[in-house]
């Protein structure tokens, strides 16, 4: 195992008598992109400011390549770069903005201009080089801010909700560009966001932060598919959660009972002795069909129910199905909405694969 590039050890931050960050251990490995997700006020940005050596913790330390950073902050900050939610450009030309950090790091004039120009071009804003930063749109300004960070060729890049102030199309585009740059440079990155898509797209690993603590870390598929708790599940978009009793186990396949339904699921690790579990289902993993239709596949679960309501959500719709004691939230495409003539009161069959079920053990 390689040594961590940046680590937090027993990091505690208090504000007004309240502990807002409490991270016993966090390691950012070289070349990885760690996305820290969590609800507002979870302490994500505060943690990032400490990793960026911009604030001093109340207790604990931040290590850079395994060495305590205390007393070396300025030198180490010159090996990192930070992009905030707001572009925070200086009242100068775009080029001068990108050159400022290089100047502070003592990069000579010729190389400075060349590097600034190259990164402005990489983010598609080289045409704006001689413009005043005050004349840019929000998207342009954030691109300049990214170019300013990458021009520093940082060993660690820290991004604090970098695109949340942008509208959706601008955000999509800039996220795509950043993803391609990261794939190319393999810059060690820490990204703080509350946007799951952004985290999944940019992060190679995800840490979930709640009330100042990191409650789960893992690959995106793990965090989004197999949350460790109800709280994390709710945050990562698992909308259907209900209690079930384990009534049978056979070759890694569990049979559970809930509200008169029988559900089959794959047995997770550490399930020995567990008798109850929380059944978690993502809305996109459940499909609806007409009650008479036969569910395909052997490991397919089906529950009969009645649609309680349908709520449109942009491209799709969200359906709430009452399956007698168990409520299931399902994503319905516009197409199946029409095909099944779904509306409140329609009888349906909600089906999902055994592999789509994530179980959180109850002790």
């Amino acid at each position: 195992m390689t040594a961590a590039k940046l680590s937090a050890r027993n990091l505690v931050v208090r504000r007004a008598g309240r502990t807002i960050v409490d991270v016993p251990s966090l390691d950012v490995m070289p070349g990885e992109a760690l996305a820290i997700i969590g609800p507002n006020g979870a302490g994500k940005s505060t943690l990032l400011l400490h990793l960026a050596l911009l604030q001093r913790p109340d207790a604990g330390e931040v290590l850079f390549e395994g060495t305590d950073t205390h007393g070396h902050e300025l030198a180490l900050r010159r090996r990192m770069a930070v992009v905030f939610q707001e572009p925070l450009l200086l009242d100068r030309t775009v080029l001068a903005n990108v050159e400022t950090g290089l100047r502070l790091r003592g990069v000579a004039g010729g190389e400075r201009r060349q590097r600034a120009g190259r990164w402005l071009a990489r983010f598609g804003v080289d045409a704006l080089a001689s413009r005043s930063s005050r004349t840019l749109s929000g998207g342009e300004a954030q691109r300049v801010s990214l170019a300013r960070a990458f021009a520093l060729e940082p060993e660690v890049l820290l991004l604090d909700e970098p695109f949340s102030a942008l509208d959706r199309p601008a955000r999509e585009e800039i996220t795509r560009d950043l993803a391609s740059v990261l794939a190319e440079t393999h810059t060690t990155t820490v990204l703080v966001t509350h946007d799951h898509d952004e985290a999944a797209r940019l992060g190679s690993r995800i840490a979930v932060m709640m009330r100042g603590r990191i409650v789960q870390t893992g690959a995106p598929s793990e965090v989004f598919g197999a949350p460790v708790s109800e709280e994390v599940g709710a945050f990562v978009g698992i909308e259907t959660m209900f209690e079930a009793i384990i009534v049978g186990r056979d070759e890694g396949l569990l049979t559970l009972a809930a509200g008169g339904h029988t559900i089959e699921a794959i047995e997770g690790d550490d399930f020995g002795g567990v008798t109850e579990a929380l059944v978690c289902l993502r809305p996109e993993d459940i499909s609806l069909s007409a009650p008479g239709a036969h569910a395909a596949g052997s490991v397919r679960n089906s529950m009969a129910g009645r649609v309680r309501r349908i709520v449109p959500t942009g491209a799709d719709a969200r359906g709430e199905v009452d399956c007698g004691g168990v409520t299931v939230i399902v994503r319905v495409t516009r197409r199946s909405l029409d095909d099944l003539a779904l509306d409140a009161g329609t009888d349906v069959l909600a089906s999902f694969k055994a592999t789509a079920v994530h179980l959180i053990p109850r002790w």
Partner: protein
């Protein structure tokens, strides 16, 4: 010409510019430092300090003059300097009047910057001094206004200057003192002419700075800083100042 001795007028006008110019430069150094501390530092008594500065922006010159006269009086604590009734004493008095003005302007303009701008500048790799230098450039326009206001307060002031300078012909007489004197003697014509000279000088200085200000503002129309602050934890109460 309006005055019997044209040379006298030049000399008095020049002395006005000299005394107030030096006082403005001193006030700038003091005021920017104090203003930055008030804007960025959180310390006990900050409220009191801000109140004093805000009061100081309208400090009664006569009180300033009285206080400095007491300090510099031959029997006073700084009497040994022998500065009473010199231009040095006048520079001190005018500095005391202009410093709160520049401090107030500086503190207000720095406090109006986005709170995270300083963190961003630190993150770019700035030391504390480099950070200060960069953010001061961000407020260069309000700083120019501060200089104009400070210089205006210094050169138009009469009470303190006369009290500590003595209005001595050929030594400490400035335009405002001369106007006071000529008016007292009933020479309204001369007093008016001196007043016009004073105003003309102030207009000239302000025109110069305004021209600089407008030049700096060229080719920017509307600030488009996306600025919705997001609240993650509490605002940075005491940004850590790296060494």
């Amino acid at each position: 010409m309006l005055l019997h001795n044209e040379g006298d007028v030049y000399e008095i006008a020049w002395r006005s510019v000299y005394v107030s110019g030096i006082a403005t430069i001193l006030s700038l150094v003091l005021g920017v430092g104090l203003g930055a501390a008030l804007a960025f530092r959180r310390f006990p008594g900050r409220m009191v300090a801000l109140t004093l500065v805000n009061t100081g922006m309208g400090l009664p010159p006569v009180v300033v003059g009285l206080f400095i006269a007491i300090m510099l009086w031959r029997s006073g604590p700084l009497g040994q300097l022998d500065w009473i009734y010199t231009t040095r004493a006048m520079i001190i008095a005018q500095t005391a009047i202009a410093t709160p003005v520049i401090t107030g302007f500086t503190a207000a303009s720095l406090a109006a910057l986005p709170p995270r701008l300083r963190l961003q500048v630190y993150a770019l790799g700035a030391s504390r001094l480099q950070m200060l230098w960069i953010v001061l450039q961000e407020v260069r326009l309000p700083l120019l206004a501060a200089i104009m206001a400070g210089f205006g307060a210094a050169i138009s002031e009469v009470g303190a200057s006369v009290m500590v300078g003595g209005n001595v012909a050929g030594q400490t007489r400035v335009l405002t003192g001369a106007i006071l004197l000529e008016q007292g003697k009933g020479n309204f014509g001369i007093a008016l002419a001196l007043g016009i000279i004073l105003l003309a000088m102030m207009v000239a200085v302000n025109a110069l700075f305004t021209w600089v200000q407008l030049g700096a503002r060229r080719d920017r129309w509307s600030p488009t800083h996306a600025g919705d602050s997001h609240d993650e934890g509490t605002p940075i109460a005491s940004p850590w100042q790296p060494r």
